[in-house]
Amino acid sequence: MSRRNPSPSTALAVAAACLCFTCGVASAAVTLSLPTLESNAGQSVDVPIAIKGAKGVSAMQALLTYDPAVLEVVTDAQDPDRTMTRGDVLPDNAILKLFTETPGRLPLLFLGGANANDKAIHAITGDGTLATVHFKVKGAGGQKTALALEKIEAFQVNDMDLLARAEPGALTVRIEIPWLWIGVAGGVLLLLLLIMTLRRRPTRAAG
């Protein structure tokens, strides 16, 4: 009595069933990541936005959110580059705009750009940095703000959307130790000690 060979469809189903013991996840998604940083009050800080799985993304929108009491975006009407630096994944003629009108809620929009000569829409070709946003820390030591990207939508040239998700970050304002004042206080203490020591010597001599 011979054993029946499994049909191709059964084999496919078995293979798939085996695979899903370990997978069971959605298709690959575009991932935008923000860093976790520390900075001193009053200093400038750069927040890079990393992107993964973005090959083929030709249009994308997101909302960068943070606590405006802790951070303020650097703006300069004469020099937009002071607000944001374009990342290395962007096609040459890509449009990348960061709208800074609403503190704490900055829309970030990306278009791959078009080339009329070759009738092409350009797209991101690999992983890397999408943009680096320049902030100034206005919060006090110990304050913290979440850095998040919301409302992400990403599209390919064929108009199909891509699954997109974000990995949030955070920025903590360091508590600065006042070394100068500690030093001054120490110096004053030493001076007092010296004065007291010098005033005791004549007393012994008289005795």
């Binding site: 496919l12 997978c23 997101a62 709208f99 829309p107 009329a116 199909m160 959307d161």
Partner: protein, 750 residues
């Protein structure tokens, strides 16, 4: 029945305790706001409203609706039910002081009478006090009691008729020394039978402002009169006792939690054939509106009318208006005096409907006031089709639209996430996690709902409808809750309006026939707006969107899979009317597809698509994109019908799947009378309003993909459609793409 009262009390206490709720909920729920008044020592009675209450469970008795007689005299309600097996008559007189001195005890009294013939009657009563100046406590003056012994089993042969004669009322004490502008005291009583109950409620509004005293009550209100116990003026003759056919009298009466007579907003009207300018060019008629039935009467350039919007959101009420051409500008006031405001309406070109424009709402709760956007009603002539383009893209009743309901769920999911992520006050944070319950109400730690809210039945128990009226923002898109504003919660109306495309008149599509043909170019896909973020009841849904596009503009229809769990393969067909749209022979793979897919336009009107993966798909994403060129005339429409043959999980088991069909509706860009045209002149908010945005995707909500669509048109990758010429320079180019980006940024930052 008493335990039902307890439930009501628990609900009332909890909802009154929920002080951080937004929007119009705040009219009842927000923390009291103090306000100085000119007469700080007295509250004046400004409004009395007496209503009949009834409840009949037809499904239990299989009897026809009861014959009834209702008389509303000043201070007296008579209510007669004439069932085949019994009769019920209830009457009531009420009395209340015309002024209440702060800090002193006051009393509201009633004299209730009832007679009926059947088993198991019983009294119940409840009292409520709400508003910023609600008394610290109110209590019944005397517990209502039947003259016969308590809850009982009645031998109807021996005692065919019961009589009740009850005097009772409400007693309370105002908060001495703490001044508020108004408060409300209400009480109601029921006579409950096994399946039916009847009774009345009385609502008294007191205000500290002497100028408001004597304000004439609105329709349906009565004035108080001194009480004298009087028998019902419509006594029912005894009838021959009949054997009891209903369940045993020992069963507790099945009284409803809210037995008031429902006054629902406009009921859906059956669609009629499309009409063109055949409606009278006047406001003077009985409209079906999103504020309920709205009769309007015009004399010269003055109009008056009433609306039956739910009490939960400031209704019913009346308005007076001035008419100027197609515009009606009204000042309205809720009958109970709790709110007032203005709205602006625009009659459509064909005279068969109107759309709401600017609206303001003033909540008379001591200072909190604002202007309500999107609060103006939309309406239509009840004799014509329901193709009104109101209420955002979701049609005039988005709560009834399956796709729009998914948008509600998406809003709920996003709002819940935002509220719980927001770092608010200590009390706010301590109540986390915030969540929406099955009635659309917010719950949190220490705040829960023991039952459906009042008036929920008025909304046909549809939580989306209830939420639509409940969660509203002011003209600036601001909530009344600071936390909701801080968390960046989006306007529900705007969200659903953008998310759910407008279903067009189902009767407007042309006939079938005619071959399809030419391939479409690359219009914007309608993916994001159609994808809800949360799926009710863990359902898996295959969804085709509703889109509105100009004739000749290519559009990509993105079919979505939502709430997928372990999906390995699927076969489905997309049907459409080839006389209305031509399909390109090629389809695009969506994000769901990771391995194999096949597609074929098997014949004009039927597209088949399937996919199989080694990696099962979970979550939500686009299955496929189908490109169409809409070729039908303006106002025509084709349904997009999905038929699923197979859908399996990784074990080969067929998965349950809900289908949500879509549609393509076409407008003629040169037809400015079509409300679907973004350049429709009567559109509230003008052409720049959010729901009027020109898109390649047909959703009415611009995304970066629409900017990309402009670039494609510029370089010739997509046929140019001048509806995307946003700066009217005669071509679609990168400048239009930038305008789209600016619009998207504005929406994102809101």
């Amino acid at each position: 029945m008493r335990h039902l009262n307890i439930v009501r009390w628990i609900w009332l206490a909890l909802t009154l305790g929920a002080m951080t709720l937004p929007g119009d909920m705040g009219r009842v729920f927000v923390a009291p706001a103090q306000a100085q008044t000119s007469k700080p020592d007295t509250y004046y009675l400004v409004s009395v409203k007496v209503e009949r209450k009834k409840y009949f469970r037809e499904t239990q008795t299989n009897e026809k609706p009861p014959a009834e007689e209702f008389k509303g005299n000043p201070g007296k309600i008579e209510f007669k039910v004439d069932r085949p097996k019994y009769k019920l008559v209830a009457g009531c007189l009420t009395e209340a002081p015309t002024s209440i001195v702060d800090g002193q005890t006051f009393a509201l009294k009633y004299q209730a009478d009832a007679t009926w013939e059947f088993a198991d009657p019983g009294w119940s009563a409840q009292i409520q006090a709400f508003g910023p100046g609600a008394p610290a406590s109110v209590q019944l003056l005397s517990e209502p009691k039947p003259l016969t012994a308590g809850r009982h089993s009645l031998n109807i042969n021996a005692s065919p008729q019961l009589k009740f004669n009850e005097q009772g009322g409400v007693q309370g004490t105002t908060k001495n020394g703490v001044r508020y502008r108004w408060f409300v005291v209400a009480f109601s009583f029921n006579t409950g039978a096994q399946f039916d109950s009847a009774g009345m409620s009385a609502t008294y509004v007191y205000a500290a402002d002497e100028k408001l005293a004597g304000t004439p009550p609105g329709p349906g209100t009565t004035t108080t009169t001194p009480t004298q116990p009087t028998p019902p003026t419509t006594p029912t003759p005894p009838t021959t006792p009949t054997p009891q056919t209903t369940p045993t009298p020992q069963t507790p009466p099945a009284a409803p939690t809210q037995p008031t007579t429902p006054t629902p907003p406009a009921q859906p009207t059956p669609p009629a054939q499309p009409t063109a300018s055949r409606c009278p060019q006047t406001w003077d008629r009985d409209w079906n509106t999103t504020w309920g039935p709205m009769p309007v009467r015009v004399q010269g350039n003055t109009a008056t009318g009433t609306f039956t919007r739910s009490r939960a959101v400031g209704g019913p009420g009346t308005f007076t208006a001035t008419v100027s051409g197609r515009t009606l500008q009204a000042t309205w006031r809720a009958d109970d005096g709790s709110s007032e405001g203005t709205f602006e309406l625009f009659l459509t070109e064909d005279g068969c409907g109107f759309t709401g424009g600017r609206a303001t709402t003033r909540i008379n709760n001591g200072g909190a006031q604002g202007a309500g956007q999107g609060g103006a009603p939309d309406g239509q002539d009840p004799s014509v089709s329901s193709g009104s383009n109101c209420c955002g893209g979701a049609g005039s009743r988005p709560w009834e639209n399956a796709s729009a309901q998914l948008c509600f769920e998406r809003w709920i999911a996003e709002t819940t996430a935002k509220l719980n992520a927001y770092n608010g006050s200590a009390e706010y944070n301590a109540r986390k996690p915030w969540r929406f319950n099955q009635y659309g109400l917010m719950e949190a730690t220490g705040i829960s709902s023991a039952g459906p809210p009042p008036y929920f039945k008025d909304y046909n128990n549809n939580k989306y409808w209830y939420m639509w009226d409940l969660y509203t923002t002011d003209a600036n898109g601001r909530w009344r809750s600071a936390e909701w504003n801080g968390a960046g919660v989006a306007s529900l109306h705007d969200f659903v309006g953008r998310c759910a495309p407008n279903p067009a008149d189902p009767n407007a599509s042309g006939g079938r026939g005619g071959a399809g043909g030419g391939a479409g170019g690359g219009g914007g896909a309608n993916t994001p707006s159609s994808v809800p973020g949360n799926v009710p009841n863990n359902e898996m849904i295959l969804l085709a969107p509703d889109v509105v596009v100009p004739r000749g503009a290519p559009v990509t229809i993105a079919v979505q899979l939502i709430g997928a769990r372990d999906v390995l393969n699927m076969d489905f067909a997309l049907g459409y009317d080839p006389a209305i749209a031509n399909a390109a022979p090629d389809a695009e793979n969506g994000s769901v597809i990771s391995d194999l897919s096949q597609y074929k336009l098997v014949q004009p009107g039927v597209f088949r698509f399937n996919f199989a993966s080694l990696t099962p798909f979970n979550g939500r994403g686009t299955v496929a994109g189908f490109r169409f060129i809409p070729t039908g005339p303006g106002k025509s429409r084709t349904p997009l019908t999905l038929t699923v043959a197979t859908v399996n999980d990784s074990a080969g088991t067929r998965l349950p799947l809900r289908i949500v069909d879509g549609s393509i509706t076409i407008y003629d860009p040169s037809d400015l009378t079509d409300p679907n045209n973004p350049k429709y002149p009567n559109r509230p908010g003008g052409e720049d309003s959010a729901r009027a945005q020109a898109t390649c995707s047909g959703t009415g909500r611009q995304t970066v993909n629409d900017a990309q669509c402009c670039l494609k048109m510029w370089v010739g990758l997509t046929p140019t459609s001048l509806h995307m010429d946003l700066n009217n320079d005669g071509e679609v180019n990168s400048r239009d793409a930038i305008i789209v980006l600016q619009n998207v940024a504005r929406e994102l930052a809101r």
